[in-house]
């Protein structure tokens, strides 16, 4: 019989490794925040002739935006295209930029997306509040649902640990792949993240529900054994459900990927991570807490 509990350190280590990689990438490359949260302007400009990136950079510096980031965006239709990200442009700056870019051969009018700083701050705050409120709501609900067991709050907390794990993994994966796949952490990412939270908790609850049931008829079995048995009993359900959900998600990702790539990717990463955390993290955390080995655990890993 597979020992899910005994090998817990390996499981914890794997997650930690991914998260640490994410942090390293975030420091080196920066977190790929979208303009939803940073505020600013993003525009795509095309030229009818070859234009050096430096020329575009100089123009932006001239109108007072040396912070602008310019990125090549060649397509088959237009090999001379750039994506410009900058802080929010004022009306006059807009016009000056439009004029200056036209002088070096910009095709069409300047078209840009912009989010002003206060709105971006509000969105970032709103998203953070949404994640926190969802977490608290889930913590309270699970603590309530398991109220008949001793220390129901622990079940809620461990479910929250599992979902925090999923949030961190999703952020880490986005930081790692951000540059390569041109991903963005925007409001849709947060939407995906909240969905993943709901999904991951669903998975965790199924395992906890089995623990709840098995504890009732446990007899002389120790807590660790009960938890391990519960994990084994729910394993095929956990994997099957993830598999069906992933089937659908991958189908959507392959067919409509481009349009909502970030959103679908966070869902896929989240479902995998959510399944992982419900099998390898949540219950193990429960055992570590229950058997009072928290301090010992940290000593050993340190």
């Amino acid at each position: 019989m597979f020992d899910f509990i005994g090998k817990k350190r390996y499981f914890f280590s794997l997650s930690t490794l991914i998260i640490v990689c994410g942090i390293v990438f975030a420091i080196v490359q920066g977190v790929p925040w979208g303009i939803d949260f940073t505020g600013g302007t993003i525009m795509t400009v095309g030229f009818d002739q070859t234009v050096e990136k430096d020329a575009v950079e100089n123009i932006l510096a001239e109108i007072g935006h040396p912070e602008a980031q310019i990125q090549g965006a060649e397509t088959d239709e237009n090999p001379n295209a750039f994506i410009i990200r900058s802080k929010e442009l004022g009306r006059a700056e807009e016009e000056a930029l439009d004029e200056a870019l036209k002088e070096i051969g910009m095709t069409g009018d300047l078209e840009f997306d912009s989010v002003s700083d206060p709105i971006a701050k509000e969105k970032a705050r709103g998203a953070a509040i949404a994640v926190v409120v969802a977490t608290i709501g889930i913590l309270l609900y699970i603590s309530w649902a398991f109220r008949k067991l001793p220390k129901p709050f622990r079940y809620g907390t461990c479910a929250v640990i599992a979902l925090a794990h999923d949030v961190l993994i999703a952020l880490a994966v986005f930081s790692i792949l951000g540059n390569a796949l041109d991903l963005e952490i925007n409001l849709m990412f947060i939407t995906g993240l909240l969905t993943v939270i709901g999904y991951s908790v669903n998975d965790t609850i199924v395992v906890f529900d089995r623990i709840r049931e098995n504890l009732g008829k446990a007899g002389r079995q120790g807590f660790e054994t009960v938890v391990n048995n519960s994990l084994i009993e729910t394993l095929s359900r956990s994997l099957n459900t993830s598999l069906t959900t992933l089937l659908v998600l991958v189908a959507v990702y392959l067919f409509v990927g481009e349009a909502i790539e970030s959103f679908m990717l966070v869902l896929i990463v989240g479902v995998i991570s959510g399944t992982y955390s419900s099998i390898f993290i949540a219950s193990q955390a429960l055992v570590v807490w229950e058997t009072g080995s928290v301090r010992r655990f940290f000593k050993r890993t340190a």
Partner: protein, 523 residues
Amino acid sequence: MRTRDKVLLLLIVILMALALMTLFWSSFGESIEREELKLGLDLEGGAHLVYEADFSELPEDTEPDDAMSGVMAVIEKRINAYGVSEPVIQKIGDDRLLIQIPGIDDLEEAKSRIGETALIKFREFVPIEPDSSGTPVQSIAPGTLTEIIASGTPVEPVATGTPVEPSVSGTPAQSSGSGSPSYFALRPDEEGKPVLTEVPKAEAEYKAIPAMGTIDGKKIELTSQYFSGKVEVRMPQSSNQPEIFFKWNDIGSDLFYEITSRLAAKPEDSVERRLGIFVGDAYESSPHVNGPIRDDGVITGMTLDECRHLTSFLNAGRITVPLHTLEQHSVDPTLGENFVDWSVQAGVIGLLLVILFLILYYRMPGLIASIALLIYVALVLSVYQIWPITLTLAGIAGFILSIGMAVDANVLIFERMKEELRSGRTLRAAIELGFNRAWSAIRDGNVSTLITCFILGFMGHKLGAPSVEGFAWTLGIGVLISLFSAVVVTKTFLRALSYTGVVNQRALYISAMKEKMLSGEGR
């Protein structure tokens, strides 16, 4: 079969029939006021704009809330005037405005349509080919008209006012008026009554030109900026008919007096005697002018709702509420066209894969769950029809995701059933126990998903992100209906089948190989 199961089975069949009727039978759809599925901006393409309203120049007699609804009414009018379908104009918080205009991906164009300030303009109608005899080209039966009449304040006779030159009355100076001229003709409305309607130039019978007057020798156009104080809806006890009361400032009084005197000289009930009210360049209304009016007057002959509607325009034009752009996005429409097709393909493929998996892995129950899943899809789609949600990219993804999640409840139940069968219970007992034991996990899991749906919906609404809101709705509806389909539909089908001997082979429920390993005595 027990009565309860029969009743449930019947209910499911009826529900299914209703769902299919809603989806495919159009005349039934109309009778339940089915609305067209609205596509979100991300599917249709268009402009997404967030404005902040600046109330600093607001006069003291106006509440910011009223000012905001006026601004919104004006913007809606302007956007609709361009024939754009269903723009979203939504207030966020106290002073924010979210505007989504489908079909326009040129942001500058969109912004110019929304305009910076709202000015209400007044215009006169001039026949394109004036009848030499001076009789009206066409007249409208009295009683069908809205009318502008003086409000109590005695009106001086025309002669004592500033004399109006007859030559001026026909052709007020057009050059200095603002806005492009628009063209009108009388067209029958739904009830066959002739109504003044905006038409292309070629079909025009009348041309609308700015209503102007002369102040200190200068031609000035009458606009809403000359109102003095608030325009109000009143309900005088004498008539018990709602009316709109307005009052002009000094310049407005002079202008209005000159214009109404000129119009009052026109034949009774003629189109030429009407004063056109325009929101920017968009035609709104044209009350008949009862007589020369100077300082204040009322507009009568409208329902209370119509009064309120027109009043919100008149007031909006009276105040200046500068709008500052906070956010702008243009969404590529070509993305949307393909997306709908792609989503349908993705949905169908996803559904088929799930069904294949269910049947291969769970056999008979898998088949039943697949049928339940199809019923689930039909129910969800018909709910979308009855309860008009805006379908967005994320919303479709939410729906497709909910298919995957709908299976979860079934998987939970079947895993439990298998366990019970292996521990030697009869099929019927296994069905009951499987459902009962799985229920607590299903309930807790779905409640936590609903909690996040609720928070998502709230966040989406607060932050002005309709796509997030749409996602929350579709997922929430999906979760609720999946509970029903798994717990009621699948269970009833399984129970119904357990009473018919044909499908009672255990091999249909658990695989024969595993069966050998078990010492179960079966049924």
